[in-house]
Amino acid sequence: MVQETLLAAWRGRDRFAGKSSVRTWLVGILKHKIIDHIRKEIRDRKLSEAVKSDPTSSLFNADGSWIEAPENWKENPQELCENEQFRHVLQGCIAKLPEKQQIVFRMREISGEDTETVCKEAEITPTHLHVLIHRARLALRTCLEFYWFGGRRS
C-alpha cells in the first residue's frame, strides 16, 4: 500500500501544487488508496457471496442453456430412503447450502412445513421463498450428481 502510494506520488509529482506539505499530500494519496482497497474488497466479497447463493450463474450459459446437462438418475426413492450412505451424502450436500437456503429448504422438505408457515417464520415473501428453494434444489442436485450418482456410475 505504501509502495503504491509512493508510486502514485511519483507519477503525479507534477500535480503537487506545493500548497500543503509533502507529508499531507502523501497521506492524502494513501487515504485514497486505502478507500479504493476497501471498496474492492467489499465488491469481491459481494460477488463471491452472490455466486455462492445463486448457482444459476455457474450452471447455465449466458443464453440460458445448461453448461453441463443433468444426467439421468435411475434410482428408487424408497430404496434411497433406506440407504444410510445416501442419507449421509445428502446431509453433507444440504449442509453445504448457504445458510438461508438451508433453513428454508429444511423447513420445507424435511419438516414438511407449508409455504405460508415457512414464509411467516423466515419473514420472506412467497416469491423469495420460491427462488431460495429453486436455488437450493439446483445446488443440491449438482452436489448429489457429483458425490452420489456420478460416482456410482464410474
Binding site: 457471496e49 440460458g64 438418475w73 419473514e123 439446483l138 442436485r141
Partner: protein
C-alpha cells in the same frame, strides 16, 4: 431451443410450490418434449421430492412429531441473524 432451460428449471421447482399459470404450464410442457436435459432435471426433482416425502413419513412414524420447539427457536434465531443477507 435450449435457451429456455434456466427458466424451465425455475418453473419445475415452482411447480412443487405453487400452481403454475396456464401459459407457464404449456411453455414448460413443450420445452420438456424437446429437451432431454430438462427431462432429466425434472426426473431428479421428482425423485428427490418422493425421497423427502418418504423420509418425512418415516420420521413421523418413528417419532410422531414434526419439529421440536427447541429447533423452531433455533431456526428463528438463525434467521434473524441472516435476515439482511440475500441468501
Amino acid at each position: 431451443m435450449n435457451h429456455f432451460c434456466r427458466e424451465a428449471s425455475q418453473l419445475q421447482s415452482d411447480a412443487f410450490e405453487r400452481q403454475l399459470t396456464l401459459s407457464e404450464h404449456i411453455r414448460l410442457r413443450i420445452h420438456l418434449l424437446i429437451c432431454e436435459a430438462c427431462r432429466n432435471y425434472a426426473d431428479s426433482l421428482k425423485l428427490l421430492n418422493s425421497f423427502f416425502h418418504n423420509l418425512r413419513k418415516q420420521v413421523q412414524q418413528d417419532e410422531g412429531i414434526t419439529l421440536p420447539d427447541s429447533d423452531r427457536e433455533r431456526i428463528k434465531e438463525a434467521l434473524s441473524r441472516t435476515s439482511d443477507s440475500a441468501g
